[in-house]
């Protein structure tokens, strides 16, 4: 119930956590801490060797997690345990190749069976209708991205194939904290809203409580990734640090 969780959250912050950093046990603890601290939902990032939509921080996180031995096969049995004990719905964010490696349908079923409620795929093919139908029949939300450059007709199509929430990308560019976020995102969220009843969340670049506050004045939720993972990688106590970062963003 991703949409429901975002709607009922007073201040819907959705943290992104790279799986397997520093190891899978830590990821489990971080997820629990974030949920306890009030995350509306949590994105679990699947590390990929070639993350072309990510800036330096998430590239590094991905790289370190793979070096530490991350695999999807290692993750999923643990997710099954975490998902029953954690209030916040869990979402997987992954580039398409690791999901396709052993068949898209089969992998999505495995995700669903471990309690994952939604997927975000930044390099979904432009003609993704096949995948959205697979997701619908399997019963997992396909959260799609709408970019600042997306033309109206395409926006309509993407939103119509979307479930869970609509992900409005705030900036032209890759992931990574930015001190200035473009004002156009407000307009973009309004445009999306006119097409759907789904929650509309914004992400890419958000790193401060003020930015969160700002975004939540017009969006239903905010995704925070690089800022959190940057702090996690610098910290000796990543679990504590995640809790602290989220509390600060929720203030």
């Amino acid at each position: 119930m991703i949409a429901e969780a975002i709607r009922t959250s007073k201040r819907a912050v959705i943290p992104y956590v790279t799986a397997g950093l520093p190891d899978l046990d830590a990821t489990g603890e971080i997820i629990r801490a974030l949920s306890d601290a009030g995350a509306a939902a949590i994105e679990i990032g699947i590390p990929f060797s070639d993350p072309m939509a990510d800036g330096p921080v998430l590239q590094k996180a991905s790289h370190l997690a793979l070096q530490a031995g991350f695999t999807l096969d290692g993750l999923l049995p643990r997710v099954a345990k975490w998902s029953t004990g954690v209030r916040a719905p869990l979402i997987v964010m992954s580039y398409i190749n690791p999901l396709m490696r052993r068949g898209m349908g089969e992998t999505l079923v495995r995700l669903r069976d471990s309690g994952i409620q939604g997927v975000i795929i930044p390099d979904l093919p432009s003609d993704a209708s096949g995948i959205h139908e697979i997701c619908r029949s399997i019963g997992i939300d396909l959260i799609r991205l709408v970019a600042p450059t997306t033309p109206e007709e395409r926006r309509r199509e993407v939103v119509s194939q979307c479930s869970g929430f609509v992900y409005a990308v705030t900036v032209k560019g890759v992931t990574g904290a930015r001190s200035n976020l473009p004002a156009e995102v407000r307009r973009q969220v309004q445009d999306i809203r006119s097409l759907t009843d789904l929650p509309v969340c914004t992400g890419f670049g958000v790193s401060t409580a003020t930015q969160v506050e700002d975004m939540l004045s017009f969006a239903d939720g905010v995704i925070v990734g690089s800022h959190l993972m940057g702090r996690v990688m610098e910290s000796k106590t990543p679990v504590e640090e995640s809790r602290k970062v989220l509390r600060m963003l929720m203030m």
Partner: protein
Amino acid sequence: MKGYFGEFGGRYVPETLLPALQELEDEFSAAWEDRGFRDEFSGCLRDYVGRPSPLTHARRLSEHLGIEVWLKREDLNHTGSHKINNAIGQILLARRMGKERIIAETGAGQHGVATATACALFGLTCAVYMGTRDIERQHMNVERMRLLGAEVVAVPTGTATLKDATSEAIRDWVTNVDTTYYLLGSAVGPHPYPTLVREFQRVIGEEARGQILEKTGSLPRAVIACVGGGSNAIGIFSGFMNDQVELIGVEAYGDANGRHGASIRFGIPGVLHGSRSHLLQDQNGQVLDTHSVAAGLDYPGVGPEHSFLSATRRARYELVDDRQALEAFRLLNRLEGIAPALESAHAIGFLRQYAPGHEGATVLVNLSGRGDKDLHTVLQEGL
């Protein structure tokens, strides 16, 4: 389906880039139909690049191997490789689209040099992404790019080769998509790049077909080219697609330790850099490290049209390793007075495998570039 070669190809990119790819597709279609654009392109190829490139009968090599070898001399193009054909074509497109900043990725540095050259010719700003490992082994090309006024951006991440340079160029493009034209250097990437690059390289095959008919009176038995991303191969293949001619792509079989760049032979279909094609990846869908003595073949993916040609068996893909390529490099120097690029040396190296059983057959090899840039590597390898 549009943008696919059978089940390969497509457009697997961040949503932000889709409108730019559509614009590029529309602009290319319009330009390719436009007589003025075609004339401008062929004018540049003739007067600036020096086309048509010659077809040379490799007389002593032919005697040595017992087959008739003809070389399509892309090494004699301005800047020393086939990459300039595509760079000029795309620069003319970028100008038509009003873009003033050009970015590119490069492995061997040949595409970087070609792009920097085209930018100098038309007064455009140029940034070239290059892995730090390639910067070391292709240093001369780095200096050439700088002389031409380009900024060379070092990419230290991942394997620090062509793969990572390409990812970084895509990241730049997503960020600066309004002002920037991405001049992709091989027949890879999201639609329409594989098609567009093929069309700009088609001139190789069209010239070669006419030349070999004129000189030998018949078509060759086989057309052979090395395959990195696949642009020189698809360029020469496209002249012979409908002929009864064997099309053979040569992939890099790398070192003796099982590290290579032979995506079609050993890869599994997957998605890298915006399209679906054969990809060297592990069982978890992570892209594998590659190796080739030729920086331009050191890439885990391949153009989707080659995956398609392999699947439909219109072309076949063979293997030549580092050692065989280095030996071919030496052989061509000694027997023909030509130093091939180490990439092209893979195509030459395959002739030793082809000759037995094909005695007297005529073969056409695409000599995609010249080897000055590789002297450093060859000397290090102790030849």
